[in-house]
């Protein structure tokens, strides 16, 4: 086990707060980008990448955010870590409102919140050894005595299955090994929350399982919380405790893994789940899977009313005009649809 990752930060306070306050609470996060004018003297347009996203994440839990590419799920991850500045909304970590803190405090907080990302090849600096890069987090946050950091970095590499790789350069590693190194670099500072942004999307399928299992093992051993961003539903089914389904910058349905995969309510969720080949014939209790028509609209010109309505076979006049609120259902899930019960 790894000393750095196991370190407890004021353990009693953390335990006490865990019962009442979720580790991560996100309220109404919005990100709007200015876009180029369509014509020279035209109206200045904007692109809403994330349109009001709220969720909570408990300690030790995995929340998966799923959706098609371009729906804004990666932006959510970057907003949570403040790698992109939100246009509006709040991020609370362990009860602390991070939208109000300065850069120095953020740098300090980064030790608790880490990122594992998609393109592991570009995620590693080509000019530094793997060991130096894993060690870097310890240097930045002044964790441990300088003399011990090398050993600590090597122990972390050992824990991700890269023992003896400390003196290699990234280009001498395979894709799966690079991703393990990225994970080691993120975990060495002992974070409590890890945002995994498509952590295995760039890897071969055979290697994906290894890396996902590694992530699961590390979660169990270190009590990590994962915000797991992926477009791969079979993967999400494997790792997630809860699942948030995202479409055009907003969550359309949030529920437990069972609720989302076995009994999806929102038409978009049903279309998404229906598109995945499943081994066991577990179909929605609502009969046939939903088929969406048409293309995803451009975020530059989002549709009025419900964002799904142009493609939804069940859309009514109300869907065209009024944007549905995200409402909590009796079974605890949240659905943003006017007719979650009435659709066939």
């Amino acid at each position: 086990m790894i000393a750095a990752a196991e370190r407890e930060y004021d353990a009693p306070a953390r335990e006490a707060s865990a019962a009442t306050v979720p580790l991560l609470a996100v309220e109404d996060l919005v990100k709007v980008y200015p876009a180029a004018r369509a014509t020279l003297f035209g109206r200045r347009r904007s692109l809403t990448a994330v349109a009001g996203v709220s969720f909570e994440l408990a300690a030790g839990e995995t929340l998966a955010v799923v959706g098609e590419s371009g729906c804004g799920k990666s932006t959510v991850g970057n907003l949570v870590l403040n790698l992109i500045t939100p246009t509006a909304g709040r991020v609370r970590f362990d009860g602390e409102d991070l939208s109000a803190v300065d850069d120095a405090r953020w740098r300090d907080r980064r030790r608790d919140m880490q990122l594992v990302f998609q393109d592991s090849r570009s995620a590693l600096d080509p000019r530094l050894t793997v060991g130096a890069q894993v060690r870097e987090g310890l240097d930045i946050h002044g964790i441990g005595m300088p003399a011990e950091r090398r050993a600590e970095a090597e122990a972390m590499l050992e824990a991700v299955g890269l023992g003896g790789f400390a003196d290699r350069y990234p280009h001498a590693l395979s894709g799966g090994q690079q991703q393990r190194a990225v994970i080691a670099r993120a975990l060495v500072v002992g974070p409590r929350l890890v945002v995994c942004d498509e952590p295995v999307a760039a890897l071969d399928v055979s290697i994906q399982a290894q890396v996902v299992n590694l992530l699961s093992d590390l979660q169990a051993r270190l009590g990590l919380s994962y915000l797991f961003i992926s477009h791969d539903l079979s993967l999400v089914r494997h790792v997630a405790d809860r699942v948030a389904v995202m479409y055009l910058g907003a969550f359309v349905e949030v529920g437990t893994r069972r609720q989302i995969f076995d009994d999806p309510r929102h038409p978009y969720t049903r279309a998404l789940i229906g598109a995945v080949p499943v081994a066991r014939a577990r179909r929605s209790r609502h009969g046939r899977p939903v088929r969406l028509t048409g293309e995803v609209p451009s975020p530059l010109t989002p549709p009025a009313g419900c964002s799904v309505h142009p493609r939804c076979p069940f859309a009514t006049e109300r869907c065209r005009v009024e944007r549905p609120a995200a409402l909590r259902q009796p079974d605890g899930r949240i659905v943003a649809c006017h007719h979650p019960e009435t659709v066939p």
């Binding site: 953020w106 300090d108 980064r110 030790r111 880490q114 570009s122 590693l124 946050h141 090994q177």
Partner: protein
């Protein structure tokens, strides 16, 4: 580890590794540069005479290949009997040292401003890039002449001019490279680890953009030599009793009819040095960037 090791991605190879296949012309140029640099370093040791010693009985002597008898001045003497070889060695030292120092200061200055512009963005970026455009638009020789006219000639000012020359090429280059390097995953990763900007730029981004920067240095260096030589040739640069290649050439042009070698010898040294540097620089650039032929 069941992962099969994959072929190392080419683009992450360290950019400057001298391969075996150096063309002969480039090798010759490297040899010339090595010789010039050695001369520049050991000029005062190698010089047979003190470069400023005059001997009025021994004026305008020809170099060895034109002299009838063996002479103690291999390259002859100038208008007041100073040993041309000794002057040439010291002049090379002064010219190379000045150009090298100026190039390096300019590179550091330009790099710093380029990083600053890319990092801060907004009005800082606008300001730096306006200065870049402005300096790029104005012929530097005119700027240098104006500065010398306004402030008078002074060695430190002259050095500052050498440093100011070309900074904008580094600033533009570095700004562009930093902007794209910052989009690389490792930059985001280092930031998300909680690193300060200084660490990100010095430890990660700058080492990754060093290759093109060094090429730019090799292209800028000969231009700086030419700038120094031009100003000194016009009599507005290095002032006597100190000498430089341009100054020797400027003095020698008055004796073209009687002692042409006084101008041709330093001129040839300038030409060979800048030519070699340009060829080596071009070669480096083509090695670094195969699309640019």
């Amino acid at each position: 580890m069941a992962d099969t090791p994959i072929q190392a991605p080419r683009r992450f190879r360290p950019a400057l590794r001298l391969p075996a296949g150096i063309p002969a012309s480039v090798a010759v140029c490297m040899g010339i540069l090595l010789l010039v640099c050695t001369v520049a370093v050991f000029a005062r040791v190698l010089a047979p005479f003190a470069y400023e010693d005059t001997d009025l009985l021994y004026r305008l002597r020809p170099p060895f290949w034109m002299a009838r008898a063996i002479d103690s001045h291999p390259l002859g003497t100038d208008k007041i009997g100073r040993d041309v070889l000794s002057r040439l060695l010291v002049a090379t030292q002064v010219s190379i040292a000045l150009a090298l120092l100026g190039t390096l200061i300019g590179a550091v200055l330009g790099t710093a401003l380029g990083v600053l512009a890319a990092h801060r963005g907004g009005w800082v970026d606008e300001l730096v890039m306006t200065a870049v455009d402005w300096q790029a638009a104005m012929p530097f020789l005119i700027i240098a002449l104006a500065v010398l006219a306004f402030f008078g000639n002074d060695f430190l000012l002259f050095l500052a001019l050498m440093a100011l020359f070309g900074w904008e090429t580094y600033a533009r280059l570095v700004r562009g490279m930093v902007l794209s390097a910052r989009e690389q995953g490792y930059a985001l990763a280092v930031r998300s680890l909680g690193a300060r900007p200084g660490r990100l730029y010095l430890r990660h981004i700058l080492p990754n953009v060093m290759g093109p920067l060094i090429v730019q240095l090799t292209l800028n260096f000969p231009q700086t030599i030419l700038l120094e030589a031009s100003l000194s040739f016009l009599g507005l640069g290095i002032q006597p009793p100190l000498t430089s290649l341009g100054q020797m050439l400027g003095e020698g042009r008055d004796y073209l009819l009687t002692a042409w070698w006084l101008a041709v010898i330093p001129g040839a040294v300038i030409f060979l040095t800048t030519l070699s540097m340009s060829i080596v620089g071009d070669w480096l650039r083509s090695r670094l960037d195969p699309t640019q032929r």
